[in-house]
Every structure is written in C-alpha cells, then in structure tokens.
C-alpha cells in the first residue's frame, strides 16, 4: 500500500511539476507577446531595443516549442488559457489581448514547431493594429487568413455570433419537376437523334456530327489543341496588367468611375449621391494636404457647376451646392486645424484651392483668420478673401463687428487689399475702434484706397491718441503726397499738445510737411523759423526752428528758398545761421 501510494504520489508530483513548468512558461510567453505589440510600435526598425525584444520573444517561443511541442491557447472573453489554466487575464475591453481575439470570433490559437521570426513579427503586427468596427477590411481573422501562417493556426466561430448561419437547404435548389430525371428517356431520344444526325440549326448539325471542337475550330480557324494555349505574349501582357493594378491608386480609380457617372447620370437622386461621394473624397484629400489630387477634382466640379457644361440648371446647381459644402465654416475650421498641425503646406496650391471656392466661403475664411497660427497662412487667407470678396464685400463686413480685435484687423487688411472706395463707409463705422492695431490697419487700408474720403479718414488719424497710429498716418500721408492734410498737420503744430509729443513724432510731422511741399505751409514755417526766443523759451523755440528748417530742406518750391534768403538778413544771428546752413544744404542737393 505504502509503496504504491508513494509510487503514485511520486508520479503525480513529477507530472505536476512538469505541467506547472509548462504553464509558467506559457504564461510568461503570452505576457511578453501582449507587451511586445505596444513596445515594438514605439521603436524604429533599426533600434537595438526593438531587436532585443524580438530576440527575447524568439527565445521564449523556441524554448517553449522545443520543450512542449506546441502552444495551444484557448481564448475566453477576457482570459487566455493553456491546459485549462488561466495564464492571461485582463478585463479591460480596450487593452485585453484576449478580448481582441474573442471579439473577432477567435476561440483558439496554436503555435507549432518551426515557428519563424517573421511569423512572430507578422503576428505581433496583426495583434497590435487598431481595429475599428468600420474597418471591416482588416479584422484580425482576415489578417491572419491573408498571412496564411504555416505555424500559427486559429479556430473561429461565425462573425460575432455563435449560432450557425441559417442556410438555404440544398433541396430548394433542385428543380421540383426533375426528380432524378429519366436517363433512359434521355438516352433513347439522344442516341436516336444522333443516329439520324439531325439538328435544329446549322451549329447543332455541325456539333452533332463532330462535337464542339469543330465549332470552336471554325470560330478560331485553328486546331482545337492550339487554341487555348496562352502565348508568351499573352502571359506577359496579363502579368503587366496585374502589376499595373497592384500599384493602382484605388481612390483615383473610384473617382474616375464617379466622374464617368456624373457625365451620364440624369437621375437627380443618384447624381446628388455620387456628387456627395466625390465631394467627401475631395474633402479628405484637402484635409490631408493632398492638393495634387484635390485640385483637379475641384476644377472639374467648377466646370460642371456651369449650366453650359451640365444637363440642366438643376444639375449645375447641385454641383454648385456641393462646392458650397467646402466653404461652410465646419469644413474651413477642419482645414485650418489641419494646416495648424502641418507646417509644411504648399501655399500656392492652398491658395488655388481656396480661391476656387464659392462666395459662401468668405465668412468662414474670415472667421478663421483669427485661428490660423502661421502668419504667412493668415496673410494667404486674407489674400484669398480679397479675391473672393471683391464683388461681395458685404459678406466680409460682419467680421468688422467681431469681438476679437485681430479678426477685425484682418478684415480691415482685406478691405485695403480690395481697395474699393466702397469700403470707406464700412471703415468709418469702426474708425474709433478701441484697439490701436485695428486703427493702424485702417490707416494702411485707407492709404490703399484712392478717394478723397479715404484721405480724409487718413487725416483723421493724425490726431489719434496712439502715437504709432499717428505716425503711420503721417507716413502714409507723406507717401501718397496728400496735400489736403497740410492744414491738419499745421493745426497739430500750433496745437496745445504739440510740445508734449516726443522728438521723433515732432520730426516726422515737420518732415511730412516738407515732403508735402505745399506753399500753404510757408508762412507757418516762416513764423516758426523767425520767431525769436525768450529767456525761458529758448530751448523750445530753437528745437522748433530746427524742425522748420528740416521741413524747408525737403521742399522744392521757390517760396521756401525765398523765405530762407530773407532769413539771411535777420538780426538774430542764430536765425541767420540756420537759414544759411539750410540754403547751403539745398544748393548742394540741387547740384
């Protein structure tokens, strides 16, 4: 009894240890496998870390398969078992390897001796992919099936349901009147028919006499044994076509078909449906920055939106509406986000795309001018708006009321680019905008507009509370030689606040006066130049005198020179000196 018990006990213990070892090895292997997917994704193919992980996996598989023959894993919803022992468990639907297999219908996976590194890597590639329900092309079973592993096998149930698919019984497919047929009657009729060698037409007669081969030989005019052998040329031609199709851009093929349908399809429902698919594809191209493929589509759509190129005005309108869908705020916002993420945008193509949009895009693009991150793209958006809104300025104006000053500034810039006198009335509405940058942009904008109203508005900013705005206005008045602004400038000079301005601004004011070269300024400049300084006002008077001389230096009218000559005989030596120096400078400049 004791011996037997010992024997039995020894035997079981050994077996148990062996079993325990195998389970431990299997658990370790599955854990490594589960982690490897994530890890391998991180490292590039040349990384030594990656190679280390691969080597470790290879080693573990080799060890297991050498010791245990094969690794047969059973899949439960959240667990993987080996030899009825749970060796992997993860209740997270997102992360569980078991759930990934189970959800796809896989119930067991078996790795067999001979497993190669490539198979392991391919397998990891499959299990570490992200599978979505929509991506029905690439579920795990399909990927395993396509790989056709020699040493990895799986079993699966029908897709997402354990029950068998209800099948149509084969009996349904056997014509009811046939039964097993009457072969004797076939025989009787056909043998006698053949003997009589008759047929219901020439072809049958020919066939009846000599079988199908003669008919075929007559068609191909060759012996039957030669007709169906593929020639080297035919083989090469088909192989070439297969190679071509292997590298074929399927989306372009699809678009080709859809455009063929648009050319022939008059039924509006289908036309619209096809159009929607084309537009969706176009949107995908554009959002991914693939303007190369996107632009030709939009060009074709633009052509089709013209009534002359379509079946009817209704069809053309459908195309126009499809293009409208590219201009809606939601899409332009997506585009802007994608541009913000991708700094390497082909600006020329982006410009082409945006300028082909319908006018409904104006508001969307103008709203996005505040969201775009790159300055050059913001400028591009504005340039696009200047083109799109040239005849639809009213669509831009809403942006002038935007609570974000930078959007307002951008719209003002666009109005300036458009350069239409029409814009002045809109700009006047915001001439006192609280943000100096906006006012400054208005100054730039009105400088671009050639109208008296524009120049008046420009002069308005000579008295702006922000010095940079005032200076910009002065500079633009000087650039455009706007003499009408002279009285306003003179008023500033004689105004109470002039002395409070900083030296640079004062200099700019006089310089502008000089550039404008207006006789109207002479008497004012003379007063400043000839004014004698008192004890307490000496410094101020001399500063102004210097500015006046500087203004006169810039002037080319004779009145300026005459006035300086007059100063040469002034009793005040300092006035005489400054007049002399200024005249010398002017003469030198003249030479």
């Amino acid at each position: 009894m004791t011996d037997a018990k010992t024997e039995k006990s020894d035997y079981n213990a050994e077996d148990d240890i062996d079993r325990k070892d195998r389970i431990k090895l299997a658990a370790d292997l599955v854990q490594t496998l589960s982690k490897s997917g994530k890890t391998l994704k991180i490292y590039p193919e040349t990384s030594p870390v990656r190679q280390k992980i691969i080597d470790e996996l290879n080693e573990k598989f080799a060890k297991f398969l050498n010791q245990c023959g094969e690794l047969d894993l059973r899949i439960r919803q959240f667990e993987i078992t080996y030899n009825d022992e749970v060796i992997y468990s993860n209740p997270s639907k997102e992360e569980s390897l078991a759930f990934k297999f189970y959800g796809d219908g896989i119930r067991s996976i078996r790795f067999t001796v001979g497993l190669e590194e490539k198979e392991i890597l391919d397998f990891i590639g499959i299990i570490s992919r992200n599978y979505s329900l929509d991506a029905q092309d690439n579920d795990i079973i399909t990927m395993l099936w396509e790989k056709n592993f020699e040493n990895i096998h799986h079993t699966a149930v029908d897709y997402r349901e354990e029950r068998e698919i209800e099948t149509i019984a084969p009996e349904d497919y056997i014509p009811s009147e046939s039964g097993s047929g009457n072969l004797q009657s076939v025989f009787n009729a056909e043998v006698s028919k053949h003997t009589a060698d008759t047929g219901d037409d020439g072809e049958t007669t020919l066939q009846a006499a000599a079988g199908a081969e003669l008919v075929i030989e007559a068609i191909y005019k060759k012996p039957i044994s030669e007709i169906f052998i593929l020639t080297q040329e035919e083989i090469e031609q088909i192989q070439q076509e297969m190679e071509t199709e292997e590298g074929m851009d399927l989306v372009s093929e699809l678009l080709d078909i859809l455009f063929h349908i648009l050319q022939i399809e008059k039924e509006l429902d289908i036309y619209t449906e096809i159009l929607k698919n084309i537009t969706d594809t176009l949107k995908t191209f554009i959002l991914s920055g693939d303007y190369q493929r996107g632009l030709p589509i939009l060009t074709t759509l633009k052509a089709l939106s013209n009534e002359e190129n379509n079946f009817s005005p209704v069809h053309a309108q459908e195309v126009y509406s499809a293009i409208d869908s590219l201009g809606v705020e939601q899409f332009i916002r997506q585009l802007t986000t994608s541009i913000n993420m991708n700094k390497l945008i082909d600006t020329t193509q982006l410009f082409s795309f945006l300028t082909m949009l319908n006018k409904n895009a104006i508001e969307s693009i103008s709203n996005m001018t505040g969201t775009i991150e790159q300055i050059k793209i913001r400028r591009l958006y504005c340039d696009v708006l200047a083109l799109l809104a040239r005849d639809n300025m009213e669509l831009l104006i809403k942006g002038l009321e935007d609570s974000n000053w930078y959007v307002v500034r951008n719209i003002v810039y666009v109005l300036g680019k458009i350069g239409s006198a029409e814009a002045i009335k809109y700009l006047r509405r915001i001439k006192n905008h609280s943000e100096p940058k906006v006012r400054k942009e208005i100054v730039h904008a009105v400088s671009e507009i050639n109208s008296d109203d524009a120049k008046d508005l420009l002069s308005y900013y000579l008295d702006d509370k922000d010095s940079s705005v005032r200076l910009t206005a002065l500079q633009n008045i000087a650039i455009h030689g706007y003499r009408k602004a002279v009285p306003s400038i003179l008023n500033i000079i004689i105004g109470e606040n002039f002395d409070t301005k900083d030296a640079y601004e004062k200099k700019e004011i006089f310089e502008t006066l000089g550039i404008l070269n207006s006789p109207q300024s002479i008497s004012y400049l003379k007063d400043i130049l000839m004014k004698r300084a008192g004890f307490f006002s000496k410094a101020r008077i001399e500063e102004q005198r210097a500015y006046a001389a500087m203004a006169l230096k810039k002037m080319s009218i004779p009145e300026a020179k005459d006035m300086l000559k007059e100063g040469l005989s002034h009793p005040d030596k300092s006035i005489r000196n400054i007049c002399e120096e200024t005249l010398k400078y002017m003469e030198k400049e003249q030479k």
């Binding site: 029905q136 079973i141 056997i174 046939s178 004797q184 076939v186 075929i216 052998i229 093929e253 050319q263």
Partner: protein, 474 residues
C-alpha cells in the same frame, strides 16, 4: 469552427522548383551537357531542390490526372507557371513517368545527367511502357542513385473523384453564401446596416477550398435556382471568378477581394422593381433601359455600404464595369474612354456565362454550357478580353463542368472536371451515368485524354429531360 489550412510557403517553393526545372530541361534540349549555358539553370534548380529537401530525406514530383504535385501538395497552376507546368506534364507523360523522387544526397552532376537521360530521344513510340524502361536504363547506366522514377499509374475512377468531405464542405459554404448574400441584399434594400463580414469569411473559406480542390467547388455552379436567381447567380459568378483569379496567380487577399467584388456585382438589382425582375416575358426596350441602370445603382448602394475602403472600391469597380464590355460597347454607355479593370473584365465573362446557362423567369430555355461558350467566343476581343476568355475556357473547359454528354460509346456521361491541359481541352473527365444501353449506373470517372478512342458526340440539354446534374456535385 474551422481550422485554416496553410499552403503558402510550400506552394511557392514547389512553383519555383517547377519553373527552374522547366528552364533547365529547355536549356538541355538546346545545349549539350558540357555547355556553360546549363550552369545557371542547374544551380537554380539545385537551390530549389535544397529548399524542398529542407528537413526531409526526399521529395517527389508527381503527375496525377494532368496535375503536378510536390509530395501531396498540388501545384497551383497560374499565369506564372502555366507554361512550365504544361511542359513538364508533357515531358513526364512522354516518358510515361508518374513520379520523380529527389533524394537528400543529390549532387548537381547527378541532376545534370538525369536531365539529359530524361530528354534523350526515345526509340519507342511515345507514352509506351518501353519509354519508361529506356529512361530507367539510362539512369542505371549513369549510376544515378539520388533521383528515382516511378511509372505513370493507370488512373482509376477513384483518383479523379472528389473526396466526399470536401464536397460536403463546399456545398455547405455554397448554401451559406447564398443565404448571406440574400440577407445582405435584403438588409440593404431595407436600408439596414449590412454585415459584410459574414460574406467575407465565407469567401475566405471558398478561396481555401478553391486552392485545395477547384473542381468540386466549380461543380456547384451547376446549381441553378429558378426562384432565387439573383443570389444563386451571384455565388456562381463569384466561384467562377475565383477560379479565374487562381489561374491568374492572385494571392489570397486578391482572391478574397475578387470573390467579394463579384459576389455583389449585381447588388444594384435591389433597386429594380421586383415585378420587372420577375417578368415572365421578354423585356420591352423601355424595360431594358431600366435593367441597364443596375450597374450605376450598384455603385450608389455600395458607396453607402462601405465608404472608401480598398475592398469596397473594388466592389464598386466590378458593379460599374461588369456590363461595360472590353471594348466599352456594353452599358452604361460612357461619354469618354475608360480602362476596364481586370476584376471588371473577369466579372463580365463569368457573369455572362452563368447568366446564359441559367434558367431565369424571362429565360426559361438557357444555353447549354458549350453553346454559351460558342456565343462568348464569337465576342472574344469585342465584348470580352480575349486572353481572359481563353483563361476562362481553360478553367471550365469547352464542355464545362456539369455538361451532360453522349459519348461515342453510346454511354451518357457528366463532365466533372475540365482537362487541366489546354491541348486536351476537348477531353474532360467524365463520370459515366448510363451504360451503352441507357441503364442508369454509378459509373467510373474516365479521363478522355487517356482514352483517345472515346469521343464526345454531343452535349445534351439535361433540363429538357428533367435531369438534375447538380445532384452529382452535392
């Protein structure tokens, strides 16, 4: 549950070996054994021999029913090894050799000597037993020990008969696929979400079966359901297309895509009025106009189903192109030229063939399979791509599987497998179903290419006599 068979690597090394051996023998036919030109093909063949010998003592190249096997794995004939397979089959038959075994110790010199022994002109009549003895003698005189040959076996009926389990599996998949197609089409019609994955899995199983045993699954296309024409037709077109795809050498993924695309080539018909589809009389020109809308309707439906994924695009292509015709003379009529894809061209052939040979509400007297082929051959180069049509005829034979024939022996037989050799395309494998007196029998399978004295007198319209040929494939 079903375990997937694995065939890929073995199949590839087998094909490589066949191609290399073909080149080696062809070179040997031109140059003598000392010529430098023989070196490269000899090295390449040795390389592929070593690949096949990895881990084994020997392997055999076998010829069974005009099919080449490496051990028990049938070599898949496709566009790449078509000529090589045909050539080697011919050479082995010429020498009456059914099996060539290559052993582990084989040297390049032995292989060289073997090739020259194998191709030496024979004094006896081709395919006689003496030719085999001649080769055997030469091998012995050259002391070739590591290549042995066996005589070509007389083939019995059982060799060509499909295994019952494969047949059952094929039928099971066939009917499940019909159910799934009808389910998907019905859901789509009702604007419900369709579960394409079920269909995809069945197509994958069908591809596996096709790679294992083409003729069994091809035989199922003889099933013609009058009431369920559209679904039945869809599955048949898919099977016939897969067989063509296999000959073209498509990989598993491409075959699966082809199978799916052709399975739903007629999905546009769900938008056709049912009364029109079931109209018992001929269509008026106006009704034809409506029927001809289905390729475009199909595109619309498929776009809704699947978005822009690769497989869905191929489905769209087939739906749109399957009636366009090779020369664009079909429908829809296009306003500008377009290249029809290979999938589209394949579908146009298989669709036309199955449609012509099927009973439909409006076509109660369908063509016999061979008549359908004559009709199609006349349109080779116009409606159909001539090379693909050739390949199709290579797949189905000129007496396609399921054709009831009267033999010159006055026996009735049923074509159960096309002859794999295009030279013997008119000599398929026949199952005898009556004796010469017309009594029904469960007869042998006869390979007509082995019995030159037996010829096919004519094909017979089995429907006319109420004979259901599909029962021989179920």
């Amino acid at each position: 549950m079903n375990e997937k068979p694995s065939m890929g690597k073995k199949d590839a090394s087998g094909k490589e070996f066949i191609n290399n051996l073909h080149i080696l023998i062809k070179t040997a036919l031109i140059h003598d054994s000392s010529n430098i030109a023989i070196t490269t093909p000899l090295t390449k063949t040795m390389d592929s021999v070593h690949l096949l010998l990895a881990g084994r003592d020997s392997f055999s190249l076998r010829l069974i029913h005009d099919n080449l096997f490496i051990n028990d794995t049938k070599i898949r004939v496709d566009i790449e090894n078509f000529l090589a397979s045909m050539f080697l089959t011919g050479e082995m038959k010429k020498n009456n050799t059914g099996k060539i075994t290559f052993h582990l110790q084989l040297s390049a010199n032995e292989l060289r000597q073997f090739v020259y022994a194998f191709i030496s002109p024979v004094s006896k009549a081709p395919t006689s037993n003496e030719t085999f003895e001649d080769v055997l003698d030469k091998l012995s005189s050259y002391s070739i020990k590591n290549i042995t040959i066996d005589r070509l076996q007389e083939e019995t009926g059982s060799l060509g008969q499909p295994v019952r389990t494969t047949q059952e599996m094929a039928a099971n998949i066939y009917f499940k696929t019909i159910s799934v197609v009808s389910e998907i089409m019905d859901s789509t019609k009702l604007k419900n979400a369709a579960n394409m994955t079920k269909a995809k899995r069945l197509i994958q199983s069908m591809v596996d079966l096709m790679l294992q045993d083409e003729s069994t699954i091809l035989g199922l296309t003889t099933l013609k359901a009058y009431d369920e024409y559209t679904y039945n037709h869809s599955v048949n077109v898919s099977i016939l297309s897969l067989a063509m795809g296999q000959r073209l050498g498509y990989n598993r993924k491409e075959l699966s895509d082809l199978g799916m695309a052709t399975l739903f080539h007629d999905i546009g018909k769900i938008d056709m009025p049912v009364d029109l589809l079931n109209k018992p009389t001929d269509f008026t020109p106006e009704e034809w106009q409506i029927i001809r809308r289905h390729p475009v309707y199909g595109v619309k439906t498929l776009l809704k189903l699947k978005g822009l994924q690769e497989r869905a695009i191929k489905m769209v292509m087939v739906s749109f192109e399957h009636h366009l015709n090779y020369d664009l003379s079909g429908y829809p009529k296009l306003l500008s030229p377009k290249r029809v894809s290979l999938f589209g061209r394949i579908a146009s052939i298989t669709d036309c063939y199955d449609a012509l040979t099927s009973s439909r509400v409006y076509n109660r007297n369908p063509f016999l399979p061979d008549r359908a082929l004559f009709f199609m051959m006349k349109k080779s180069g116009t409606a159909f791509d001539p090379t693909l049509l050739k390949i199709f005829i290579n797949v189905v034979g000129i007496y396609p599987v399921g054709t009831l024939v009267l033999l010159s022996t006055n026996e009735l037989g049923l074509v159960i497998q096309a002859n794999p050799s295009p030279v013997n395309i008119h000599r398929p494998l026949i199952k005898l179903i009556t004796d010469p007196k017309g009594n029904e029998i469960d007869g042998d399978t006869v390979d007509l290419s082995k019995h030159e004295n037996i010829t096919i007198k004519r094909s017979i319209d089995h429907r006319k006599y109420g004979v259901d040929v599909s029962k021989y494939f179920l």
